[in-house]
Symmetry: C2
Subunit: 329 residues, 2 copies
């Protein structure tokens, strides 16, 4: 079974760990978000790709969900001693090595997809990890600063430094319009038996991947059923601050609203592009929204959606695969 997963960072990575447990023999291709990539200290940092790679490769800091286990921060302390920041982005010494290798390879002319493959040679994540694009895409968030001036900040600055504490007026994946899907992305979608949207951020993670011209269309036109898992449980994000960026795109923080934001595959085309979802999982606490989602042409089930451990996550993945089988076109 060929499964293609569009993944952001922590939520996507944890879901993938459950999916691997649920479908150990499946051939899994992950299309990773690179819109939150950032250049820090002259190095190319790919937080979402690395979170997937470290999580599936056994190198993740489990407590925080990103970064390496057993980290130290000597390099960062020294950079601060030189007065070189930002200090709000916590790169550890082990993590620095990944960015150094990546930057060196990019500088030597390798595309990000080849670099990611080389890094995965070490981590053996057990999936094929593809960046959504080899082209630079950088998600910016429009905010109002203290003086009321509107300005754009890098997504990481909004998310990590500001902790989404001010309203996101707009979310713009800068460069996405000119970006091309990385080699293998469209082919994987076309050949997939199942396409899954994990409970990742629908705007800045999966939304950014879908913003690369050709990817949304490839998902919509794929022969495979498309099933997603709601990142919103009981009207709040399970993790992170998805509500903040949902507000920016005018979408309520509810499981049903996110499903309609992706759009039902049977009702394509919807406003803003083709609808994508054949199936949608909401948490049990949102059971009352199932009818609403189904009315939008999306088969919906209410099941436990908390990724408390690998077993619970594997159960979610199995349910998603079962729903995919049920809605197979």
């Amino acid at each position: 079974m060929r499964i293609v997963v569009l993944a952001g960072g922590i939520g996507g990575a944890r879901f993938l760990r459950g999916l691997k447990a649920a479908a150990p023999d499946a051939d899994i291709t992950v299309i990773g978000n690179t819109g939150d990539d950032i250049h820090l200290f002259g190095l190319k940092v790919c937080p979402d790709l690395d979170t997937v790679m470290y999580t599936l490769g056994g190198g993740i800091n489990e407590d925080q969900g990103w970064g390496r286990t057993g980290e130290t921060f000597r390099v960062k302390e020294e950079l601060a001693a030189y007065g070189v920041g930002p200090e709000w982005f916590g790169l550890g010494d082990r993590d620095f090595a990944t960015h150094i290798v990546r930057t060196q390879m990019l500088g030597a002319g390798y595309p990000l997809s080849a670099v990611t493959e080389a890094l995965c040679d070490r981590w053996q994540p057990g999936v094929r990890l593809l960046p959504m694009s080899d082209d630079r895409v950088e998600t910016h968030v429009a905010i109002e600063d203290e003086t009321g001036e509107r300005k754009a900040v890098h997504f990481q600055e909004y998310w990590v430094r500001l902790r989404a504490s001010v309203p996101a007026l707009a979310v713009v994946p800068v460069g996405a319009e000119q970006a091309k899907p990385a080699p293998g992305v469209l082919e994987a979608l076309a050949a997939a038996d199942v396409i899954l949207f994990p409970p990742s951020n629908p705007v800045v993670s999966i939304g950014t991947i879908l913003a690369v011209p050709g990817i949304r269309e490839a998902v919509a036109e794929a022969a495979a059923p498309v099933v997603g898992l709601s990142p919103i449980v009981g009207n709040a994000p399970v993790r992170g601050m998805a509500d903040k960026v949902l507000e920016a795109v005018g979408v309520e923080s509810t499981a049903a609203a996110v499903a309609k934001y992706y759009g039902g595959a049977e009702r394509r085309p919807v406003e803003g592009g083709a609808g994508l979802l054949d199936g949608w999982l909401v948490d049990e606490v949102d059971a009352d929204t199932v009818a609403d989602v189904e009315a939008a042409g999306i088969r919906c089930r209410a099941v436990p959606l908390m990724m408390t451990d690998v077993d619970a996550t594997a159960a979610m993945a199995r349910t998603a695969l079962a729903l995919a089988a049920e809605v197979r076109k």
Copy 2:
């Protein structure tokens, strides 16, 4: 008093520490060798500049004479886990930060001289540290490999990986002919009251600096007396493997031969360019060579030349300054 010192790495840095103690009120400009600079992991590493900066700024690993004190090697271990080398060059985590800052600034368009000034803002070495040139110069060493093929290796590979264990057939400062002295270098030499050659390597340290067009001439034409200290004591290098590279330029490993290699200022021009030295210090054990050096037109004194501690080194520096006063033109 304006003192200009042409310095390599460990020997130059330790001499400078003694010089600062001997002449605390002097205005010291250091022209640093950059021929042993190397690009590692995509980062620009300047071993000699950093050794001077760390030594005078209190950050040096005293035991080994290079690198930072209290180092850890997490980044290097991780790079090795990615299969990325070389492993023979021991960059520590703290040291990495210096190279990251430098590389980032160079990438942003700052010349090496401006980057060095910025790094010294933190270290406050108490001297003005100038790279010999903002242009890339890379010392290569010609050797015979196992099969008898002649090939060129980077100086660091010869020195650190091979530990100078094979004969150096030639030493070539690649790029030196096209290099220009860094801003301030010629001006400092012209305005100097004293010019000193510390007991640094006469071929790959001071020789490389002198290979930048304009610098040898500026030293030869300077109004200031030029006094050097022999790196060879009792026919062997005090430290390092200077004899190996002296052989490559056909110079015996003796204090007198090195003095004649630099050339006596009174006998300019000598073969290979203008003679440079007005005065030369040899160690007491080489007292019998004083007459030979003086016959070459170089005032010579035999004094203790072992830099065993700062006091001993300060005494050497005081003697060098006294000899400079004596030979002042």
